[in-house]
Symmetry: none
Subunit: 264 residues, 3 copies
C-alpha cells in the first residue's frame, strides 16, 4: 500500500521518494561500519569501492522505484495506434527520471567526501611523505614507508600508534576530501540553478505541452488499471452468482426427484 | 483481523508485508546476540549457520504469509471446468510469490555480510597467516597457528588479547565480507533493473492479460468466500426461524390438546 | 507532496522555507567535521573556503527552492499579450526573492564568525608573533615561526602542545572573529530596521498595487496547472471507457459468429 502510494506519479510524490532515498543513503552511510583494511594492496580498492559502488546501486534503485521509468519504456515500445508517438515526450520523461535517480547517489558521494574517511583510506598510500617532517626518517626503506602510509587510516594499529605525524597526514587528506566535496556540491548547485533559470527563457509553450502529454500517458495507464480491476470484480461476481443459482436449482431439482419428501 | 488484512491480495498490500518481513529480519539480526564459539571445528558451522539457516525460515514465512501462494496452489489443483487452466497464469503467480518470498532472506544475508561478524567467525581459520607479519613467529607449529586463527573473532580471549595483528586479520576479513555484500547487492539490483526495464520491450499485451486473469482468480475466490458466508447466514437464519415457528406451533398444539386449561 | 507544499507561494510558506534553510545551515555547520589542515599553505584557503563557499551554495539553493524565482523569470520572458508587462512587478519579485535567498548564507557566515574556528584556521599565520611574549624565542628563524603559527588551530599537534602561548593566540583570534560577527549582525539589523520603517513613508499605494499583481501572476500559474491536470484526467477516462466498450462489442460479435452456442 505504501509502495503503491509511492509509485503514483504525481510529481510531488516522486520528489518525495527521491528525498526519502537521499535521506536513506545518508542514514545508511552513517550506520555503515567502515573498516579500512589498512593493507597497501586493498586500501585503494576498498575506499573507492565504498565511494562508488553504493551510488551505482542507489541509482538503479532510483530508476526501479520511479513509476515514470516503466511508463516511459511502455510508451516507447507500444504499438503506434491513433495517438502518434512523440519523441519530445519520451525525452522529457527520460530526463525527469534520470534527474531524480541521480539525487541519492550524488548525496552518498558528497557525504563520503565531506566525511573524508573513505578518501583517507583510498589515498593514504599516495601521499608524499616528505611533506610531513617527522613522519619517517630518511633511512627508512621505500617498502616500509608504503606500509606505514597504508596504516594511516587505522589509528589503533601498533605500527602507527606512536607516530607523531599520523594525525597530520590524516588531517591533510581530510581537508582535500572536503575541498573536493564542497567543489562538487557547488558545481552541481550552479548547474541546477542555471537549468532552472534558463528554462523559462527558451520555448516555454512546447515545454508545457510536453508536460501535459507526459501527464496524460501516466494517468491513462492508471485509469486503465483501475478499470481492469472493476471489470474483473464485476465478472467474478456474475460468475459466482450464476454458480450459486445453478446450485440452488440443482438442489431443488434433487429434492423433487430423488427424495421428494425427506427434506421437507 | 490484522492477519486477514495482510492476506488480502491487492499487490500493494503484499508488497507491504514483504517490506515488513524484510524490516523484521534486519531488526532480528541487530537484536541477535552473536557469540562465535572460537573453536576451530565449530567456527565455520556456526558462522555459516547463522548466515544461511534464518533465511530458509524467512523464505518459508514469506510463502506462508502470502495469500497468493495458496490461491496459486488451488488454481493448479482445481478440476478443469468451463474456464481452461492457463499455465502462463500459474507461472506468473508462482514467480510473483517467489520474488516476494526472496526479499526477507536476501536482506538477512546482505545484512550479515555488510556487518561482517558472521563472515569473520566462519573464515578466520582459512586466512593465510603469512600475509600478516607479526601474527605468528616462524617456529609456531601448524596446530597452534590454527588455534590462534580460530580465536580471532573473540577479542577478549586470553590467547589472542596481546596479539598485535589480531585486529589486522579481523579488518582484512571484514573488508572481504563487505566487498562480497556490496557485490551481491549490486548484482541483485542490476538483475531487478534489467527485469523491470526489459519487460515492456517484450509482449506487453499478453503480460497484461495474464495479470488480468491472475487478478480474476484471486477476486473470484474472495467473492466466493463472501457469498458462501452470506449464503450460510441466510440458510441458518431460515432454519432457525423454521425451528422457532415449528416450536410455537407445537406449543399452540399442546395448549389446545394436552393441557387446555392449565396454563391460562 | 511536502516539496510541492513548500513550493506553493503564499508568502508565509516561502518565509517558512527560508527559516528552514537557515536552520539547516546552522545544523549543517554544527554537524560538520571541521579539520584545519594546519599547513601554512592550505590554512587560509581551507578556512575562507569553509566560510564563503557554503554560503554561495546556500544562496543558489535559496533561489532554486523559491517558486517565485521561476514565476519571475517566466513573467519576464513571456510574450506580451493583453496584460502589459510591468517592470515594477518584476523588480518587486526580484528583490523579495533575493532577500529570502540571502537569509541562509548570512546565517552561515554569522555562525562561523561567532564560532571562530574557521577564522582562527584562516588567519593564524597572519598574527604578529611579537604580540605574544613567550610564543617564540627571538632566535627562532622566520620559517619556523610560520610553521608554529600555522599549527595554532590544532591543539593536539606535537609541535605546539607544550607551547604556553598557543591558547593566547587562539583566544585573540576568536575574539576578533566574534567582534566581526557581532558588527555584521548589528549592521544587518539596522538596515532591515531602516528598510521596514522607511517604506511606509514613500508611495504606499503603488507598492500595494505591485504586490497585488505579483500575487496574481503566481496564482494564475497555479490554477493553469490544476486545470491541466483535470483536463488530462477527463480525457484519459473517456478514451479508456471507449476502449472497453469497443472490446465488449467485439466479444459479443465473436460470440454470435464463431461459437454461437458454446459460451452461453
Amino acid at each position: 500500500m505504501i509502495f503503491q502510494y509511492f509509485q503514483s506519479n504525481s510529481e510531488s510524490v516522486t520528489n518525495g521518494i527521491c528525498a526519502l532515498l537521499a535521506l536513506a543513503s545518508v542514514k545508511m552511510y552513517s550506520s555503515f561500519d567502515f573498516h579500512c583494511p589498512c593493507l597497501a594492496k586493498y586500501n585503494m580498492a576498498y575506499g573507492l569501492g565504498i565511494m562508488f559502488i553504493p551510488p551505482v546501486a542507489l541509482f538503479l534503485c532510483g530508476l526501479i522505484v520511479n513509476r515514470q521509468f516503466v511508463v516511459m519504456l511502455e510508451e516507447w515500445k507500444r504499438p503506434t495506434g491513433d495517438r502518434k508517438k512523440n519523441l519530445a515526450i519520451i525525452r522529457y520523461m527520460c530526463s525527469s527520471v534520470l534527474q531524480r535517480a541521480m539525487i541519492a547517489p550524488v548525496v552518498w558521494i558528497l557525504v563520503t567526501l565531506l566525511d573524508g574517511k573513505c578518501f583517507v583510506c583510498a589515498f593514504s598510500s599516495s601521499v608524499d611523505p616528505d611533506k610531513f617532517p617527522g613522519f619517517v626518517t630518511n633511512i627508512t626503506p621505500y617498502n616500509e614507508v608504503q606500509r606505514l602510509l597504508s596504516k594511516v587510516p587505522c589509528k589503533d594499529d601498533e605500527l602507527i600508534r606512536n607516530n607523531t605525524s599520523r594525525k597530520a597526514v590524516s588531517r591533510y587528506l581530510k581537508c582535500w576530501s572536503q575541498a573536493f566535496g564542497w567543489s562538487v556540491l557547488l558545481t552541481l548547485i550552479v548547474i541546477a540553478f542555471l537549468a532552472r533559470s534558463l528554462r523559462p527563457c527558451f520555448n516555454q509553450a512546447t515545454f508545457l505541452q510536453t508536460r501535459y502529454w507526459s501527464n496524460y500517458i501516466d494517468i491513462e495507464q492508471k485509469i486503465f488499471d483501475e478499470t481492469c480491476c472493476e471489470h474483473t470484480r464485476d465478472f467474478a461476481h456474475k460468475c459466482i452468482l450464476h454458480f450459486f443459482e445453478s446450485m440452488q436449482k440443482e438442489i431443488k431439482r434433487r429434492r423433487f426427484h430423488a427424495h421428494p419428501g425427506k427434506e421437507e
